[in-house]
């Protein structure tokens, strides 16, 4: 078998951070989340992801994937960045940097948004929640330092305080059709009434936490942020709440399942579908780009909306048990027309699926293309995203 370093790189698209010319290798001093002890006790296979030592899997990626689709899974996502914005200009500042118009957001609303540069290139995709006293941004682990530097650069002229709370807090995602019912049996305030992309603050035994009805799996569920010290207790409590063992409704799931779940749900992953060389319009995220305000990148994006983009993100249904990998070429009539960004053997569909950027003329659903798997052409058909949509 070949070197696994290469496989790892394919796995998560090379998580190396460039910060003002300093090359920070992530192989040294890996960060640990407050749930590290839990992962180790559960026998998780740990990998290094964006500088963090994270669980790739506990029992198996496919088993964890399937459990999430039918029951409930808990994912440690504490590696993601959590940044708090306060001060009189916080909203104005965020509106200058984000593609969504957050001035219209009510308290308790969470918005998916992009952060773009002046050319419309995506610096990150984030979720910003408007809470009573501040705005809270959740960003990708691999982009956190880059974003903090970007915010610092654009802060002059705004009365805003930016506080990186990543190291003081933990974040877990609870995902699956049984999550809401399960939470409502234990939480003081029901979350069933919380609308999708809305958030609330709660207390449980004097411990405050934030709950957002959101996720990255295509299932119903929540993402919970709490203090470091409460996290380990909370996760143990959750897993015990309906009996322990493999029959338990709630099972831990790792980054491996998180990736296959989000791919079936057609959700982009930074470093794969999104990057600084890609704009949100090509990525199919026009809906997350406000047309009624100016922000960094808005001019370029408005033109792309008006004139169309030369390439588009599409789904591919691949007619082979083989799995293409990132950057493999998409062909039409023997000519290159695009590139694969992500692919997997879909556990839910029982077939190979991929996302790819293709020239816009080949982006219509039903278009026949091929994927060049190192010389072997795999027949594929363009399809609409997502691949999987939950019932209801």
């Amino acid at each position: 078998m070949t070197s696994y370093a290469k496989s790892r790189e394919m796995l998560f698209g090379g998580e190396i951070v460039f910060l003002t010319g300093v090359f920070l290798s992530h192989t040294l001093n890996l960060l640990k989340t407050p749930l590290h002890e839990f992962h180790v006790s559960q026998g998780a296979k740990m990998v290094d992801f964006a500088g963090w030592n994270m669980p790739l899997l506990y029992r198996g990626i496919i088993a964890e994937h399937q459990h999430t689709r039918k029951s409930a899974s808990v994912f440690d996502v504490s590696h993601m960045g959590r940044v708090k914005f306060t001060g009189p200009d916080a909203m104005k500042f965020l509106n200058h940097l984000l593609t969504r118009n957050i001035a219209g957001a009510a308290v308790g609303q969470s918005l998916y948004s992009l952060v773009c540069n002046e050319n419309g290139g995506v610096l990150d995709d984030v979720i910003v929640s408007r809470l009573e006293k501040y705005h809270l941004m959740v960003c990708n682990a691999s982009n956190r330092l880059k974003l903090l530097a970007w915010f610092d650069r654009h802060r002059p002229g705004f009365d805003v305080q930016i506080q990186d709370e990543t190291m003081q807090t933990a974040m877990v995602a609870l995902q699956g059709p049984k999550v809401i019912e399960l939470l409502d049996a234990v939480l003081p305030e029901p979350v069933a009434g919380l609308k999708r992309y809305h958030c609330m603050m709660q207390r449980y035994m004097f411990i405050p936490f934030t709950v957002c009805r959101s996720g990255y799996t295509g299932e119903d569920g929540v993402e919970v942020i709490c203090g470091n010290s409460a996290a380990l207790m909370a996760i143990k409590f959750l897993l015990k709440s309906d009996g322990q063992g493999t029959e338990s409704l709630v099972q831990p799931a790792g980054l491996g399942a998180r990736d296959t779940l989000r791919l079936e749900a057609g959700m982009p992953l930074y470093g794969h579908e999104l990057s600084v060389t890609v704009d949100p319009i090509s990525a199919g995220l026009n809906w997350a780009v406000a047309k009624d305000k100016d922000f960094i990148g808005s001019k370029v994006l408005a033109e792309l909306v008006q004139h169309g983009t030369p390439q588009k993100l599409v789904g591919l249904l691949i007619d082979s048990p083989r799995t293409p990998r990132q950057d493999m070429t998409v062909l039409a009539g023997g000519k290159p027309v695009g590139r694969i960004t992500s692919a997997t053997a879909s556990p839910t569909l029982g077939r190979t699926i991929a996302m790819a950027y293709v020239q816009s003329e080949f982006s219509e659903p039903g278009t026949a293309v091929e994927v060049d798997l190192r010389g072997t052409p795999l027949a594929a058909a363009v399809t609409k995203l997502p691949f999987y949509k939950r019932a209801g």
């Binding site: 078998m1 496989s7 790892r8 083989r322």
Partner: protein, 126 residues
Amino acid sequence: MASPTDRFYTETHEWIKLQGERVLLGITRFAVDELTDVTFVELPAIGKTLTVGKAFGEIESVKATSELYAPVDGAVVEVNEAVKNDPSTINQDPYETGWLVAVKTGPVDTSKLMSAAQYDAKFNIH
């Protein structure tokens, strides 16, 4: 878990088990754990010649694709259809039901291969 002591190992995580004039060939538990769930395996047809150190097949998982390298010279005399039909057999049991191919060889020079103890020491397996 320690690797089985009745076979030899390569640095690229293949194992061979000597069976008279032929060897059974597979990949190690360590390799399988690195790959995660195996979804596809491409193996050579019966009669195909293997050359030491050269790629003879590919294995794909939910997370990665890897090439398989021949630990011995020889000709393929049997292919494990069970792993082709159900690649998860390799995850379940890489040393017994999850073998890949049987190869007819001359006398095998095992001096270039590792014992279980050497392999486990090299990759910190216990």
